[in-house]
Amino acid sequence: MNEIEYLLAAILVMAISTYLTRLTPFLMFTPGKENAKLNFVAKNTPPMVMMILVIYMLKEVDYLSTEIFYTLFALAVTVGLQILKRNALLSIVSGTIVYMFFVQM
């Protein structure tokens, strides 16, 4: 197997693995069959996952350096704007610009 063949095989294997994880629930469950437990999980998973994803994204922040200050500041801008204006794009772009400004200073 030469290098390109190895890469192609690896990409294919990754594609299949990834697709399988995403496909699993659709194969395991039939929709709408009055499965109260499943509906309960479906309804409650998004808020839990969102909380987990936010913490996951912030887990690398070094809270002993100045990084914590500008991260908190950028977060405050994002949260504040989102609560006030409910415009996702505006909140994300503003928070990111603030963050980039401090990182690149």
Binding site: M14, T21, I92, V93, T96, Y99
Partner: protein
């Protein structure tokens, strides 16, 4: 509808373009032709797994190990589809594609938005999924094509992904307005961080779903 879907998907653009560029830049270090980075964006389409793959490919690890690491890293996606069992509609190519495109970002966005009146949910979700993947492939391609220094300093742009999830967390709060799932997610995250930092996401999701089911069980027995 396509226009609205495009507008709704824009927050993902700001997360995916810089992240894709970062991936493309790293991919260059493997010294493969640039279009393989695009190919990965097209047929694998998994942010974290693609980053991990760079290390695995550089080390030349075996295909079985690549398959298993990818599966483990993406295992959290097994819980995402549950939210869309009905809304993705009947089995057809479109549904197969929407399942393929179910990333952290599309899941987060599509569970947090209201569908405008008169829109076909399936089609609306399809276009959001499609646009999101286009952004990702674009990012990967730009990163893999650009020489070492981009004319524009992208440092810190990765914060857009964090900001996207924060915004969607707020939207979830506005939709759900019950403290319990947020508390569970919060506590589960810290437990996972303390004991399973390498597999934090999947462990936190399993703990969360397990805990909320226990709460449901306890509440039910109270009612009876």
């Amino acid at each position: 509808m396509i226009k609205t879907a495009l507008k709704t998907s824009l927050p993902i653009l700001f997360g995916f373009i810089p992240l894709g560029i970062a991936f493309g830049l790293l991919f260059q270090e493997l010294n493969y032709p640039w279009y393989f980075a695009s190919l990965m964006g097209i047929i694998v389409y998994a942010g974290a797994a693609q980053f991990m793959a760079i290390g695995l490919l550089a080390a030349g690890v075996g295909l079985v190990e690549i398959a298993m690491s990818t599966f483990l890293l993406n295992s959290r996606h097994m819980f995402y589809g549950i939210a869309f069992l009905e809304s993705f509609g009947n089995w057809n190519l479109r549904k197969l594609y929407m399942i393929f495109g179910l990333t952290d970002e599309t899941y987060a966005l599509m569970t947090s938005i209201n569908i405008p009146k008169g829109f076909d949910k399936k089609k609306y979700f399809f276009f959001i999924t499609l646009f999101a993947q286009i952004y990702w492939v674009l990012g990967c391609t730009i990163g893999a094509l650009s020489s070492e220094i981009l004319s524009f300093n992208t440092e810190g742009m990765e914060f857009a992904a964090t900001a996207l999830f924060v915004v969607l967390l707020i939207e979830q709060w506005i939709m759900v307005k019950r403290l319990l799932p947020f508390m569970i997610g919060f506590i589960a995250s810290f437990i996972a961080l303390m004991f399973f930092i390498d597999h934090m996401l999947i462990v936190a999701i399993i703990i969360s779903i397990g805990s909320i089911l226990i709460f449901r069980l306890v509440n039910k027995s109270h009612d009876e």
